[in-house]
Symmetry: C2
Subunit: 476 residues, 2 copies
């Protein structure tokens, strides 16, 4: 499939390489010393991700420690039109940071300072390399937490760059909804703060949202001010089984329509439950299952769960399993958290190609049902997980990583799913981002004129395409 | 003051006029017939707003009815580099649609179709000229409502263009938070849908947010898909008086920190209360007062109000006046809704220059107190209103509209307030937008590099500056 898509040339070795000159490397080494590495192991570590792309290592990795260092680095690289690729926690899944044209990788792991926590403003400012668990640890005792949870312990800067979200987005929003402002270094090495710390502003174009989801192709994010939320008084978790996907999905949609502020609402299909039972030695019914979380005061939780019980019962849901104490909740949700690894065990030695379609809520049941029919027709092994309240679901296509035929079949399945999602009014990617892998679908989703505007934006902010080249907007 | 600011040249008559040619007007008249007007009355109506700028009428007004018509019009005007200015309900306040270079005004009032309501997706698609009250009327019976309420019965397209918000933003977010996607016509007359209808997406740059708040300077918005919210089961309103501004503000901030989902939280100062008493023949205490609204189930409201009573009592708040039934709530809130006109009556014959500072919550009390000291020092007559939960407040500077000295003093006061807000980490405009009036502050707020990026965006999307020229980004 790759060979028929517009983004291919950038993914083929040797098409265009823009390695840093010896002079540039010497100049950077003067400034960064041992924090510049060209060791093979380090380059390789920064040149491969969870995707199926072969490794594409950069020519050098610089471990930066400040915004000023990033500005220096970008100014140097801009002068020679050498590519610069940002690297957070390395947890992205669509080939985001593969150095397809070579260049210098900027590793943010040493920019890991929590700069300021402002409980009175419900926000905090961190360096881009701070991870979400590190930030939440720093927030202990404030009564506040940082909500965005994409599963992996991603860096906050990386989460902004990919527009990440996760299991509690249904309640607290995506990364886009939780950014107050950014410090960004431009392609020319200028430092920009995108907005004030006010909770809202109409003062000019929304630069914050321009950079959020831009995947390092418009500028490098060095500092992030994020919104914080009050910790709920209480949390309760529940698991409930449904006769079919449609009933489970409809139950959640109706809860949202009733204004029930679900904290989490995850659906796993029967195959995923089979994997979980085998892996965790549980005896859950191998049917579509909702993993739910409620948050608030105990009275609020009681009111929410009463509505939820009624809706579930109406849709043929089984008995609720409940848990309120942290360790019980953890036990109840553990199968969900381990689902990815459990599913890999459905086929020992396999790897997973994960899809990321997101559709309007009313189309979600149709989209999953049609996708399951596709899975059956093509005899694929594909457990399905859904962030049901967002209309977003992932299919884990389990394949033999050494079989080109299986990879091709998986890609073809993903292609049909994207087409289906877009026809239903949805998107090719709800939360994983574009990277290398999804750029082929942008014209299908946004039209030529829409992608034309994206390209104008790219050309304006990065005229020499030194910022993570080959990603997001396919070259014309 | 105007004469010392970078944006001035665009506001001075005769500096640069780009009137449509006779040929262009004839071409447009062929297509639009009677829906193109050059009558003096119509031009004047479209050339003045609530600001203090003298009228700047366009050369023609076209009453469009479809996206295709807007595309046709823009393609024609682009060919001759003639300015095009969008016009919604005419309720903006910063000189947004004044035709400083002449050109063609696009009136959206006949693009007033509610295209589709999708209760299952919690969204609706409307033409840009639909007003918020019209949309809410169309939603009757669905159990859903459109939340953004800037006071005036603004058009939905205009609200997107200015990034509007209002009294219930503290609960439901600004217009930016409530847009799903847009249909936009570009400077070249191309039609772009900015995103799918999915609730979240990571598919490329966030074009929706690029256009939201762009005030017609990057493209013309012709259709909007907005988020809808479930109508709360019950609503309760309350009014409570505090000994000083700081106590009132702190009470709201602590409620937010406790996670109380206030539906509205407006503060009015003692002078505003004096105006209200005189206007509405009420006997409210002439002290800082919170007008509050709670929404949810009755149990939720009870829980919220219990916390709120405790907090208010802790901060020296007086007795709560309560209202639950719609007509009682309306009576209780009527003074707040009439406050603008009541305040104008503090000085018969006066007009108001309204400021729009927005600061981090923790700085709000300081900012208002310092501003009140400034008011006293300069012997100005300025009631103050605050959307306290957002950190946003408006000062109504009451002046004799025929006195250049008073206008200058009011502008100087506004200037000091902007400086104060920015120093406290805030913004010159929380919700009114930039228009002509605030562009002078963008460099102060965003720095040269930030405004440089905004200008790059403008130059890329509108290379000949035909889209609402002179607004948002000052010319270099």
């Amino acid at each position: 499939m790759h060979s028929t898509t517009p983004s291919t040339s950038a993914t083929q070795p040797g098409i265009l390489r823009r390695a840093p000159s010896a002079q540039l490397l010497a100049h950077l080494r003067d400034r960064f010393g041992d924090r510049l590495s060209t060791s093979e192991a380090v380059l390789l570590q920064h040149g491969r991700d969870e995707s199926f792309y072969p490794p594409r290592p950069p020519d050098a990795v610089v471990f930066v420690q400040s915004t000023e260092e990033v500005a220096f680095l970008l100014a140097c690289c801009a002068a020679e039109k050498t590519p610069v690729i940002g690297y957070g926690a390395g947890s992205s899944v669509e080939g985001h940071f593969l150095a397809v044209q070579g260049g210098v990788c900027v590793d943010f792991s040493q920019m890991n300072q929590v700069i300021e926590i402002r409980p009175g403003d419900l926000n905090a400012t961190v360096q881009a390399g701070v991870t979400r668990t590190q930030l939440n640890a720093a927030l202990q005792g404030t009564g506040l937490f940082f909500s965005v949870d994409p599963g992996a312990d991603a860096s906050v800067g990386g989460m902004v760059a990919t527009g990440a979200s996760g299991t509690n987005t249904v309640r607290y929003g995506t990364m886009r909804d939780n950014v107050v402002n950014l410090v960004v270094v431009t392609a020319e090495g200028q430092v920009v703060r995108t907005a004030s710390r006010a909770r809202k502003s109409s003062a000019g174009y929304n630069l914050t949202q321009v950079f959020c989801g831009s995947e390092g192709t418009l500028g490098l994010i060095t500092e992030v001010t994020v919104r914080l939320h009050p910790l709920p008084e209480a949390i309760a978790a529940a698991v409930v089984t449904f006769p079919d996907v449609r009933s489970a999905v409809q139950c959640v949609i109706e809860a949202i329509q009733h204004g029930v502020p679900l904290a989490r609402a995850e659906m796993l299909d029967g195959l995923a439950l089979r994997a979980i039972n085998a892996h965790s030695r549980t005896t859950l019914r191998e049917q579509p299952t909702l993993f739910l979380e409620f948050a608030g005061s105990q009275a609020q939780i009681d009111a929410q769960t009463e509505i939820m019980r009624e809706l579930a019962s109406h849709h043929g849901g089984g008995e609720f399993q409940w848990a309120a104490r942290p360790e019980e909740r953890s036990r109840l949700w553990t199968p969900r958290h381990h689902a990815y690894f459990a599913c890999l065990q459905l086929r020992p030695g396999s790897r997973a190609l994960s899809t990321d379609a997101c559709v309007p809520l009313s189309a979600l049941a149709d989209c999953i049902e049609q996708t399951q029919a596709d899975i059956a027709e093509h005899e694929l092994l594909v457990p399905v997980f859904g962030h049901v309240g967002d209309g977003n679901f992932h299919c884990m296509v389990l394949i033999d990583p050494h079989s080109p035929g299986e990879l091709e079949a998986a890609e073809a399945f993903g292609h049909r799913l994207v087409e289906r999602a877009i026809q239903l009014g949805g998107t090719c990617t709800g939360e994983h981002g574009v990277g290398l892998h999804k750029s082929r679908y942008l014209v299908r989703e946004h039209g030529k004129a829409g992608v034309g505007l994206m390209r104008m934006l790219k050309d304006a902010f990065d005229p020499h395409h030194i910022l993570n080249p080959g990603k997001v907007v396919p070259s014309p």
